[in-house]
C-alpha cells in the first residue's frame, strides 16, 4: 500500500496514536505508585525497580521478538527493521507508520508485563522476575495478540471476537499470569494466621496508591481511545465510555466495600475505578453510555468480591492485580457479548449483544475467547513460574522476606529518613487542655 505522505489526516492519525502511546507508557508510573503504595515499606525499592525494569526489558524484547510474533505471523525475530528504513513502512491494515504502531504496541506489552509485579510483590526474587518479563513480553503476550489483533483464529471466528483495546488480550493475560504466579509462589509470610485465616498486611502509603490510580486513569485515555488507531470522530465517544465506566467502578466498589466491611475502603475504591476501566476496555467502542456505566459498575462490584474470595482461597495478591485485570478483564470481554449496541447509529456493522437483541452469537464468541486465553495463559505462565521455581529463582529466603527485599535484593533500603525528620519536629497537639478527649 502506498501511503500518501502529504496527507494531513494520515499525519494526524499517526500523531494521535503517538500521543496515546505516551499516555499508555505513563501508566507505568501509575502501576509503580499503585503497587508501591499497596505493599509494605520494606520492599518498596524492589517493587519500583521491578516496574522500571519490566518496562525496559519488555520494550527491548518486544522490539526484537514479541512484536514480530504478534503481527508477522511468520518472522519470529525482527532485528532487521531496527536497521532503519522503517520510517515510511506502513502497517498492513491501517494508515499507521510501522514505528508508531510498534511504539503503541510496546507500551501495551509493558503494561501486560507489569501487572504481575503487584501480585508477586514482597517475596519474588529480582532475577526470577526479570526472567518472567522476558517470556511474557517475548512469547506469552505476543501469542495472544497474534490470535486477535494479529488476525489469528479469534479474529477469524464466524462472529469475530471483539476485544477493542484488550480487556482480555492485555489485562487478562497479565491477570491470569499474576494468578498463576501468586499460586505458585505462595502467600507472604504472615498473610495467614496459624488458624489459616487471612490477616491484613496493609499497604504503606495510600497517597502513593491513589496517585497511581489517577495516573492509570489518565493513561487509559491513551489505552482505549488510542486503540481506535486513527484520529476520527469515534475517539470522543470512546473516551466518554471509558470515563463513565471508571467512575461507575469506583462508586460501586466504594459502596460494596462500605456494605461488606462497614467502611468505604480507600484502596478498594481505587481498585474499583481500575476494575471499571478494565471492564470497559473490550467494549469501549461497541457499548453505548448505559452499557459502559453498567459494565464499569459491575466491574467495581466484582473487584471487591474477587479480592475477598481470592484471599480466602489462599491466593495472596497484595494489590488485587488478579481481580482487577484478570477477573474484570474476563467480565469486560463477556460484557461485550451482552451489551454491545449495534443499533445505535455509530455502529455500522450492527453487531449487538444478547441484551440488545443480537442473540447469543457474540456472547458465545466472547466466551470462547475468554476461556481460550485463560487456559493458554494459565498453562504457559504455570509452566514458566514452575520452571523459575525449580531453578530456585522464584522466592527469596524467609529471612530476606521478613527483613524486606530492598536490602536483600538491591543492597539498600527504599526509605531512609534521617533521625529527627521521620517524625518531624512537630508534636501534634490540640491547643488547650480544655479540648481533652
Amino acid at each position: 500500500m502506498e501511503i500518501p505522505l502529504d496527507d494531513t489526516q494520515m499525519i494526524l492519525d499517526n500523531i494521535f496514536v503517538f500521543v496515546c502511546a505516551v499516555l499508555v507508557f505513563f501508566m507505568q508510573a501509575g502501576f509503580a505508585m499503585l503497587t508501591a503504595g499497596l505493599t509494605r515499606a520494606k520492599s518498596v525499592a524492589n517493587i519500583v525497580m521491578k516496574n522500571l525494569m519490566d518496562m525496559s526489558v519488555g520494550v527491548l524484547v518486544f522490539a526484537v521478538v514479541g512484536y514480530h510474533i504478534a503481527y508477522s505471523g511468520a518472522d519470529f525475530f525482527g532485528f532487521s527493521w531496527l536497521w532503519g528504513g522503517y520510517a515510511d513502512a506502513p502497517t498492513a491494515d491501517y494508515s499507521l507508520m510501522l514505528p508508531v504502531d510498534f511504539f503503541f504496541q510496546a507500551a501495551f506489552a509493558a503494561a501486560a508485563a507489569t501487572i504481575v509485579a503487584g501480585a508477586l510483590a514482597e517475596r519474588t526474587q529480582f532475577r526470577g522476575y526479570l526472567l518472567y518479563t522476558v517470556f511474557i513480553t517475548g512469547l506469552i503476550y505476543p501469542v495472544v495478540v497474534n490470535w486477535q489483533w494479529g488476525g489469528g483464529w479469534l479474529a477469524q471466528l464466524g462472529t469475530p471476537f471483539e476485544d477493542f483495546a484488550g480487556s482480555t488480550v492485555v489485562h487478562s493475560v497479565g491477570g491470569w499470569a499474576a494468578l498463576m504466579g501468586a499460586i505458585i509462589i505462595g502467600p507472604r509470610i504472615g498473610k495467614y494466621g496459624a488458624d489459616g485465616r487471612p490477616r491484613a498486611l496493609p499497604g504503606h502509603s495510600m497517597p502513593l496508591a491513589i496517585l497511581g490510580v489517577f495516573v492509570l486513569f489518565i493513561g487509559w485515555f491513551g489505552f482505549n481511545p488510542g486503540s481506535q488507531l486513527a484520529a476520527d470522530i469515534e475517539v470522543p465517544r470512546i473516551a466518554v465510555n471509558t470515563a463513565l465506566a471508571a467512575a461507575a467502578g469506583a462508586v460501586l466498589a466504594m459502596i460494596t466495600s462500605w456494605i461488606v466491611s462497614k467502611k468505604p475502603d480507600v484502596s478498594m475504591a481505587g481498585n474499583g475505578l481500575l476494575g471499571g476501566l478494565v471492564a470497559i476496555t473490550a467494549g469501549a467502542f461497541s457499548l453505548d453510555g448505559y452499557g459502559s456505566v453498567v459494565a464499569g459498575a459491575i466491574g467495581g462490584v466484582i473487584v471487591v468480591f474477587s479480592v475477598l474470595g481470592l484471599e480466602r482461597a489462599g491466593v495472596d495478591d497484595p494489590v488485587g492485580a488478579v481481580s482487577v485485570h484478570g477477573v474484570c478483564g474476563a467480565w469486560g470481554t463477556i460484557a461485550v457479548g451482552l451489551l454491545a449496541n449495534g443499533n445505535a447509529p455509530f455502529l455500522e456493522e450492527g453487531v449487538s449483544g444478547l441484551l440488545y437483541g443480537g442473540g447469543v452469537d457474540l456472547l458465545v464468541t466472547q466466551l470462547i475467547g475468554t476461556v481460550a486465553v485463560f487456559v493458554f495463559v494459565c498453562v504457559a505462565a504455570g509452566l514458566l513460574f514452575s520452571a523459575i521455581k525449580a531453578a530456585g529463582w522464584l522466592r527469596v529466603s524467609p529471612e530476606e522476606e521478613l527483613a524486606g527485599l530492598d536490602i536483600g535484593e538491591h543492597g539498600a533500603p527504599g526509605y531512609s529518613f534521617d533521625m529527627g525528620t521521620a517524625t518531624g519536629l512537630v508534636v501534634d497537639t490540640p491547643a488547650t487542655a480544655t479540648e481533652k478527649v
Binding site: 475477598l308 517524625t423 508534636v427 491547643a431
Partner: protein, 112 residues
C-alpha cells in the same frame, strides 16, 4: 535523683509539658511509643478484611527530678493528663544513682 516516667496519650504532650513547666521543671524528654493495656486496641479494616490492632500510640515522658520534687512532678502530670477515660496511662518512678550534664559536667541536682 529520681526518674519519673509517664506513659500518656499523644495529644496530652502539650498540656503535660505546660503543667511541668509551671511546676518548675526545666527539662524533659519524650519518646513515641505504643501501648498495650486495658484500653484495648481497636479493629481496623483493610481491603475488606478486619484485623485487630492491639497497640495504640502513646508518648513516654521522662523527667529527671530531685527526690523532693517527685510528688510535685507526678501530680502535675496526673493533673494534666487525666481524662478519666481508660488508657490515660501510667507513671512510674525509678531511682537514679547519678546524673550529669554533658555540657558542663555538673552533677546530680545541678545537672537537671
Amino acid at each position: 535523683m529520681q526518674l519519673v516516667t509517664a506513659i500518656i496519650k499523644p495529644h496530652m504532650v502539650e498540656p503535660v509539658k505546660e503543667a511541668l513547666r509551671a511546676a518548675g521543671v526545666q527539662g524533659l524528654t519524650i519518646t513515641e511509643v505504643r501501648g498495650f493495656g486495658r484500653q484495648g486496641g481497636h479493629t481496623e479494616t483493610y481491603r475488606g478484611a478486619e484485623y485487630q490492632v492491639d497497640f495504640v500510640p502513646k508518648v513516654k515522658v521522662e523527667v529527671l527530678v530531685e527526690p523532693l520534687e517527685v510528688d510535685t512532678v507526678v501530680e502535675a502530670i496526673v493533673g494534666a493528663a487525666r481524662t478519666g477515660k481508660i488508657g490515660d496511662g501510667k507513671i512510674w518512678v525509678t531511682p537514679v544513682d547519678r546524673a550529669l550534664r554533658i555540657r558542663t559536667g555538673e552533677q546530680d541536682v545541678a545537672a537537671v
